[in-house]
């Protein structure tokens, strides 16, 4: 077929231009900004002062930023393990032919539909509150006074309270991805395995799990992206000022970009903000590559 080059150009140029303008340009600009000392994000280039890797070194030497990275890593790792395990378990149960699949699927997904602000307020005020929260009342009713007296939102427990409540909402999302993967697997395999005498558990470990490698990779990458953007939950668990147990890089970046809320810290640093953006971007790129290397699914065809 003869290709009409001018036609191809005419159709691709608008899309390419838009892509360059809205994706590539901001990325390149952010990378450049991260090497400059800039006060406001909208400062003209003439006001930028080149500072080399100073933004990065200052960030990595800052104990609060280190804490925020450590918190992010812990949310990613512990939260990832909890979410992947629980959502896979639920997905397996729901695809095993239980009654009311549609209802449970919708119910488990529901927290994703509700605004994060409402969800976090519910957890903070009605679950974790130490005077009238659900956990306190529940353990009191069972006369487990030691558990009832735990202050879920104090410095020692706040991180875990945050993690659990965040994971609770995210399980439905990842469960749906698992379900779509499981439903892709032909029932023939299970029937054949059943005839050969494999029980449900064996079927899961020898058929479902190996065939879900690609889905696991998708889930890990999706999870990493949402964790890198972790912000609202941290803000709600520590309103007004960041807290060492809940601070994450996005919160740190927000304070750097716009100053603190409740106090007179008005100095702004868009250069550092850009550097944090680049660090978070690299975090995802690294995980994406590692996940792609470790979880190759091109050796299986089904």
């Amino acid at each position: 077929m003869k290709r009409n080059k001018s036609m191809i150009l005419a159709f691709t140029i608008p899309g390419t231009l838009l892509f360059l303008l809205t994706f590539v340009y901001p990325i390149i600009r952010t990378v450049i900004m991260s090497f400059f000392s800039i006060t406001e994000i909208t400062d003209p280039v003439s006001k930028w002062a080149f500072s080399g890797i100073q933004n990065y070194t200052a960030l990595f030497q800052n104990s609060l930023f280190q804490t925020s990275l450590w918190n992010l890593f812990r949310i990613w790792l512990y939260g990832g393990i909890i979410i992947m395990a629980v959502s896979l378990l639920l997905a397996t149960i729901l695809t095993s032919g239980v009654r009311g699949k549609g209802f449970f699927q919708a119910a488990i997904y529901l927290p994703n539909v509700i605004s994060a602000v409402a969800m976090a307020t519910m957890w903070i005020q009605y679950v974790f509150n130490s005077s009238y929260g659900f956990l306190t009342n529940f353990f009191k009713a069972l006369h487990l006074d030691a558990l009832a007296s735990i202050q879920w939102l104090d410095g020692d427990h706040k991180f875990w309270a945050l993690l659990i409540s965040y994971c609770f909402g995210m399980i439905g999302h990842h469960m749906l991805i698992w379900i779509s993967g499981i439903e892709r697997i032909s029932t023939d395999y299970y029937e054949a395995a059943g005839i050969d005498g494999a029980n449900k558990i064996k079927q899961f470990f020898h058929i479902t799990l190996p065939l879900l490698k690609g889905i696991l990779r998708t889930n890990i990458i999706m999870w990493s992206i949402s964790v890198a953007g972790f912000f609202i939950w941290s803000q709600l668990f520590s309103p007004l000022t960041p807290d060492t147990s809940t601070v994450v890089p996005m919160v740190y970046m927000y304070v750097k970009l716009f100053g603190a809320d409740s106090v007179d810290v008005v100095s702004r640093d868009a250069g550092s903000g850009a550097a944090i953006g680049i660090i978070l971007c690299l975090f995802i790129v690294i995980i994406f590559n590692v996940a792609n290397r470790l979880l190759k699914d091109d050796d299986l065809e089904f």
């Binding site: 909208t42 800052n62 104990s63 280190q66 903070i124 309103p239 960041p242 409740s262 106090v263």
Partner: protein, 400 residues
């Protein structure tokens, strides 16, 4: 790492710390009777109906407010803007952007050449740089300064190298708010003014079965910062914050920490204080009368008025003096909200007229009454009943 957070908060607290002592000069100058080209509304009578109001017909102003339209401040501001429009013929596009809207959106909007003539928001607008204009000439032209608390004007100037670029209003002070009824029930007839009396007060409250102290995560460092400032003065705390001259290793830091350890050890804090995520302590312990004292700002009575109702007996005392400290109770943490005019504004007189309308006479009194706040106009002597006890302590050089 906790240090860093405390440091951030302390920065805020300390930039607000002003000495209320009479020795400080107010910087107030007698203004000459220059008559401006466009005759502004008479400063003291600006709030009321003014037949001499200037004619600003054909002028359009854009005003971004950091309040929400439904907040008491927003409601009064809207009324004042409408009255000002009626009086002067100016057209005002009032937009309630909320705190985040101003913080995140205003500078980008100004940099993108969007028309915003004036805005309000948290005091200290030094980060706006040359996006806001000097108000010194307008203040002279309107003979404005004589009716505003000189300490607050000095504080406003201090943010921008001595040049006035923001007009303060909605003043606040930070120290201990307390529940007078609980004090009375515990047999306490006088608020503590030094640390020994403070400990005694806590003990009496505890003996009467009341929780003496509570706080929330967001406000916990306030008391610590003030304690440190009592011990070593503002300059000393600055050194701690920026870790200069020994900074965090200085003995006063440990001394302050020990003082709080002592309070906690004696059981003066609420048992739930560790898990109070703002506003839990404020709303469910202090406002409902379970806890007697809360170290915070004077904006809290307004925030909790729907919980406390009208019967709550508000008390206020400045942070107690500590033994061997540099500062006594003559030092107080104060601050304000403020108005500023942008460099985009082509009619600064009209914009300043509106600021005057909002901070003088009728609407200033209304703003104070509706928000249980402090009036900006010195001629408005009716302070909210909730903050009566602050009246004698609040820095006002004119009374000296």
């Amino acid at each position: 790492m906790k240090k860093r957070i405390a440091a951030t908060l302390l920065t805020g607290i300390l930039t607000l710390t002003m000495l209320a002592g009479c020795a400080q000069g107010s910087g107030q100058t007698e203004t000459s009777g220059t008559t401006p080209a466009a005759q502004p509304a008479g400063s003291t009578a600006a709030g009321g109906e003014n037949t001499d109001a200037p004619d600003y017909s054909g002028i359009k102003l854009v005003y971004w407010s950091n309040w929400e339209a439904t907040e008491p401040q927003g409601i009064v501001i809207k009324e004042a803007v409408e009255a000002y429009e009626k009086e002067t013929g100016v057209e005002i596009d009032l937009e309630f952007k909320g705190r985040k809207g101003i913080k995140e959106g205003l500078i980008p909007a100004l940099d993108a050449d969007q028309q915003v003539d004036l805005f309000d928001g948290q005091g200290n607008k030094s980060n706006y740089g040359d996006r806001t204009v000097s108000l010194e000439d307008l203040v002279k032209q309107f003979d404005y300064e004589k009716d505003t608390n000189p300490v607050m004007m000095e504080l406003a100037r201090s943010y921008t190298d001595g040049v006035l670029k923001e007009i303060p209003y909605q003043f606040k002070a930070n120290a201990y708010l307390y529940n007078k009824k609980l004090f009375r029930d515990a047999g306490i007839d006088k608020a503590p003014s030094n640390w020994t009396e403070f400990l005694d007060t806590c003990q009496k409250l505890k003996d009467s079965g009341v929780i003496p102290l509570t706080t929330d995560d967001a406000y916990a460092p306030q008391a610590f910062g003030m304690h440190l400032a009592r011990l070593m003065g503002s300059d000393g705390v600055n050194e701690v914050m920026f870790n200069e001259n020994g900074g965090w290793e200085r003995p006063e830091v440990l001394q302050a920490a020990k003082a709080f350890e002592d309070l906690a050890g004696k059981g003066y804090f609420s048992p739930l204080v560790g898990s109070n995520v703002w506003p839990t302590g404020q709303n469910t312990e202090f406002a409902v009368g379970k806890a007697a004292m809360y170290c915070v700002g004077t904006y809290v009575p307004n925030e909790v008025k729907t919980i406390t109702g009208g019967d709550f007996e508000w008390g206020f005392f400045n942070y107690p003096e500590v033994e061997g400290g540099v500062n006594g109770t003559e030092a107080m943490v104060v601050g304000a909200q403020s108005f500023a005019i942008t460099s985009k504004c082509e009619h600064p007189e009209a914009a300043f007229g509106l600021i005057e309308k909002l901070t003088r006479g009728e609407y200033d009194a209304k703003l104070a009454a509706e928000t249980l706040g402090l009036p900006a106009d010195l001629n408005n002597t009716s302070w909210p009943a909730e903050l009566t006890e602050l009246h004698d302590d609040f820095p006002d050089l004119r009374r000296c």
